[in-house]
Subunit: 207 residues, 2 copies
């Protein structure tokens, strides 16, 4: 349980062992922080959280099995008292938005300085919020996704460079419909073709 004056119990999740251990070393330098559990996947992070009931969870955004955001969403319902901080290599505006909707209270790109991470952990533990200012500005200026859910689905399936026929099968759609969605998505994103559209959507974090 979280108590003032006591150390803050931290759960760390990142699929890159080296980075995770390094973060643990970094946080371990702080007297008031204690890394009580580590996980290398989303599923493991949830299991660890249930077992150790940490005060704050620091999650990497991209993990092999599942999105750090979806882990965060489940975590906040299972362990309401546990604050969640997301750390990510590429800060996309859309990710930030979805993360906040999932109950995340801290959101940081890996480019920030060393002191920030531990400070944010403390802030979140106190019930506060912190999002990287630069990321916040981007998120505000880029706004909501103009894509309909289905358009986003199809665009995501197109991301791997698959031909229309394959997308159609995987989305249970007619090839013509797929082309229509792709065309609509590209138009909305101001892209000349589907690949540029994928690029643009990814840049905004909309897929």
């Amino acid at each position: 349980m979280s108590q003032d004056g006591e150390v803050i119990r931290v759960l760390l999740a990142d699929d890159e062992n080296l980075v995770r251990s390094a973060f643990a070393a970094l946080l371990g330098l702080e007297d008031d922080l204690d890394v009580v559990a580590q996980a290398s996947s989303g599923a493991e992070a949830l299991a660890m959280a249930r077992a150790h009931a940490p005060d704050v969870a620091v999650l990497d955004l991209q993990m092999p099995d599942r999105d750090g955001i979806s882990v965060a969403g489940e975590l906040t319902t299972v362990l309401p008292g546990c604050g969640v901080v997301i750390v990510t290599g590429h800060g996309r505006p859309g990710h930030l938005k979805r993360a906040l909707e999932a109950g995340v209270r801290g959101f940081l790109p890996k480019t920030v300085g060393a002191a920030v991470l531990s400070d944010v952990v403390r802030t979140v533990h106190r019930g506060g919020r912190y999002v990287d200012p630069e990321l916040a500005a981007e998120a505000i200026s880029s706004g909501d996704s103009p894509l309909t859910p289905r358009e986003a689905d199809v665009l995501e399936l197109a991301a791997g460079g698959a031909p229309v026929e394959e997308i159609a099968v995987r989305a249970h759609l007619s090839p013509g419909t797929v082309r229509n969605y792709l065309s609509a998505a590209a138009a909305k994103l101001g892209a000349p073709n589907r690949h540029a559209a994928v690029e643009a959507a990814r840049r905004h974090g909309w897929i």
Copy 2:
């Protein structure tokens, strides 16, 4: 200067401040290692190396201005006594091969355990080599690139999803020639289209 019995002076370069600081904290836990300089770009890493003459340089593979491998190549000529360890998020066989050609003596994916990094730094300092066994196996099995230099160029330009016309302009080629190269590259890579070819080439580190 490197002396046995003394601490090993380490230069650390990674564009992600948080990760770099965390690595510094991790290496700082070892008594015989001393992080004497940090850099957040390739150019800065070279400048730092000249200024501090470290015993070992730990470089991230992908940095904003230039490839960690090209930095390593220059570093080994400027500071022959300085060992180089490359750390990377995505371990592609082609990268490993190019790194070794550049004089790199340590090559690690970020997925390895915490103890490995400091051990490798010591090994490299002693004049030894270390490459991740799994990566080495992949590199051997995947072999050399079957692409001609020009094919690789064109394929790289195609990576962004640009239309043939644009690739032709940027490569100073006729559109027909571009299509021929793309077709040849896709055939050599066993890919059904250019996008899958880009994917495959990237996976092997050939572009």
